[in-house]
Symmetry: C2
Subunit: 451 residues, 2 copies
């Protein structure tokens, strides 16, 4: 293992110790004791940089006592299903270094409204964010789930019906459950794809059964299980026809796939910062149209009976400010790159298909997602290939993880040799090809037929 990645961490940490000296010093300068600490600290950094250059020294293992260093992005290729879109850009990591402190974003907050801060340009970012997803107004939220929650809480009364996919993420269910709503799932059928027609049929069924129309439709562009593309344009048309608001769940698209909410016919677009926008968790975006903004982003109307206080400029569904520090800054700092990367989505899909094609050369390997792939997240079935080896291997199901890890691949759940998910998002061609070869190589080692 190359020691250098860990030496970089060590140097970063040593610099943070140096930085700490300034955080306790007087603005007039360091005192003698602090100067001494400073020189010792610099000497330590120099030693580490020397080791880094030479690739020598002992490897750092812990941030502190109980928290292990996390090096899976530097020392391995990470094929985890949910992590790649949230991998930070270098700009986000830098922004985080400087804006990590709690309420760091509030230095120049003049109106008590996060989305109106001009330095750093949070207001501008909000405007661009709305445009980026093809909507009129946007707010940042602590995760896509908090976007579902805000919409569910604004639009639904107890007993109201919400249409979701039978592949819907659990957070959609919970957001509806919290307000006493009723979930009705659209069947995705044998192909595991939601169509506009299937949504229309379900609406009709609800109408017939319960005598009322659903109050909200939530459908994901790509689901979390198969990474299949669902006909959100078709759903948009059906939603319009029935005049039911449509929340486009872009947790697996916003920040990776080009998204234009209005063209899709969405009333709400929800995206995830930590799943798709190279940001710190929990973060996300809720965008809507001029029609719905006054409802979901309405100002507070409550009044204190003694103090007479009102909070009209605070938005109850946002609970006022949402991401007041590093989370937001990481989103903002990654945003220029995120805007560029969505333009290269086709190439991401091409790489995904390249890998799956190679993967399917191993006899018995199956793809459960739609194929050719339209996304980088895929569900594979290795029951008739790697799992056969697992049955007699002394490490059982762990043999595949062992073999992968030995070759620098992590991210699948250890012990998974049956049905599992992986994601190739953001891997460059060299990594994609290497990853493909690794699977073929492991198959070869166990004398599994490769076509």
């Amino acid at each position: 293992m190359d020691i250098r990645a860990r030496k970089i961490y060590e140097a970063l940490f040593a610099l943070e110790d140096l930085r700490e000296i300034f955080r306790h010093a007087l603005p007039t300068g360091l005192n003698d004791n602090e100067e001494e600490q400073f020189l010792d600290g610099v000497a330590r950094v120099e030693t580490i940089i020397k080791e880094l250059k030479e690739g020598k020294g002992s490897p750092l293992k812990y941030v502190e006592d109980t928290i292990e260093l996390r090096t899976r992005e530097e020392e391995y290729i990470n094929i985890n299903a949910i992590q790649p879109g949230g991998r930070l850009t270098p700009e986000a990591r830098k922004a985080l270094i400087t804006y990590g402190d709690g309420y760091s974003i509030c230095d120049k907050c003049l109106e008590g409204r996060l989305d109106k801060i001009r330095k750093p340009p949070v207001d501008e970012f909000h405007a661009e964010l709305a445009e980026f997803v093809g909507m009129d107004e946007a707010r940042v939220v602590p995760g896509a789930r908090r976007g579902f929650q805000a919409v569910a809480s604004s639009l639904l009364e107890r007993g109201d019906v919400v249409i979701v996919s039978d592949l819907a993420h659990y957070t959609e269910f919970l957001a509806v459950e919290n307000v006493g709503g009723v979930i009705k799932e659209v069947p995705s059928g044998e192909k595991h794809i939601i169509t506009g027609d299937a949504v229309a049929e379900k609406i009709e069924l609800v109408k017939k059964e319960l005598g009322r129309l659903p109050k909200l439709i939530i459908i994901e562009h790509f689901d979390y299980q198969f990474g299949n593309e669902h006909d959100v344009h078709g759903v948009g048309k059906v939603a319009k026809a029935y005049d039911i608001p449509f929340l486009y769940n872009g947790a697996y698209s916003v920040g990776m796939v080009p998204v234009n909410g209005k063209k899709i016919g969405a009333d709400f677009v929800v995206g995830s910062g930590h799943k798709g926008m190279a940001a710190v968790a929990p973060s996300g975006v809720l965008a809507t149209t001029d029609e719905w903004a006054p409802k979901v982003f309405r100002g507070s109307e409550i009044v204190g009976d003694v103090s007479d206080r009102t909070f009209k400029h605070k938005e109850p569904e946002m609970l006022g400010c949402t991401l007041m520090g590093g989370t937001l800054l990481s989103m903002m700092a990654s945003f220029p790159r995120v805007k560029e990367r969505v333009k290269r989505w086709e190439e991401e899909v091409e790489k995904s298909n390249y890998f799956i094609r190679e993967f399917l050369r191993i006899e018995g390997n199956k793809i459960l997602s739609e194929y050719p792939r339209k996304h980088t997240l895929s569900k594979v079935d290795t029951r008739n290939s790697f799992d056969k080896i697992a049955k007699t291997h002394k490490r059982r199901g762990f043999f595949l993880s062992d073999e992968l890890k030995r070759r620098g691949i992590v991210g699948e759940f250890a012990g998974s040799t049956r049905v599992w998910e992986l994601n190739t998002y953001g891997l460059n061609w060299d990594r994609i090809k290497y990853l493909s070869e690794v699977f073929i190589e492991i198959a070869g080692k166990y004398e599994m037929p490769v076509g």
Copy 2:
């Protein structure tokens, strides 16, 4: 200005660029091109370290195009009212460097439950967190406000009455507003202090007026306006007597002041990560008793009508997982120091009083908070001192900010020379004394009488 703090940032950023090389390389090692990039990068780091050592070179100003470097903790003394408790510890900054990536905490999530992850030890942290605030069970939440929301959403029906202080934070109002609750404020009176008796009186008034008891009491230990200490023990007794659940709002105490929820008689303790626990925003804690945990942390009961899916192990009020990355890791990494620092709360109060005492030597300066101080957040009135100067100064109200900034003090809102708040939390004695002298010095400069 000492250039060295900015040189530290520059070195940190250059190391992040180096780190990025490994994030795209093969696990087998860098290729020739990458090795070349690596050597160039190391050379850049070395140059910066040399400049750092010598205190030379040009100062870095931006993270990227539009995001300015934030150096107020390194180059200034920050007396902002809400920021000091959320200032990151060096351990938190290191944890953030390694766990910044989106879903970084999920590498070894085996049960689909954040609070059950064992590596890093999130489960242990949750247990310690509950103990730390003297309660039975705890969950991390995206800010104290999300704790209020979870409790309000669990306990209240439309029209239910909630007792808060007339100094209550707006987020308590919004959490209640969202579920259609009714706010009734307890008057804090001339002393701006909430007593148990005042709470009891208000409960009686509600009973008389509306014919029903309130469903929840939310009172802060220290309020955000005056930083006054409210009689939470007294409130706890009254709550017990009326059998009304009591939410102790510890946004200005948890992580700074020793807190024992059960001793106080609280049913819920809410704290803020970014306000009091040296963590990235948005973060916080919601803790409760074994009695209330099954209600607020209940499992999901919703069922998919087509898929038959259930999510019993997911908690609807948490919307499943809450802080899946850097936010949580920053809380965890700061926690050992946070546990220690609450033991030194008395000294923080002592420093606060030292500063206020000196501040009051300037004729006309007033303290609006209770005095002697019991907290580090204080509300001061400078209408009869600095604001008199402001009236004829060419920079008007900005003169004080200018004078402070020139001496390395920031954090008050620029232009505030009338009634404003400041916070001395976490400043060491050297900084406290320097800060005190600065105000006296400015008063002297403008020939204001100093006693």
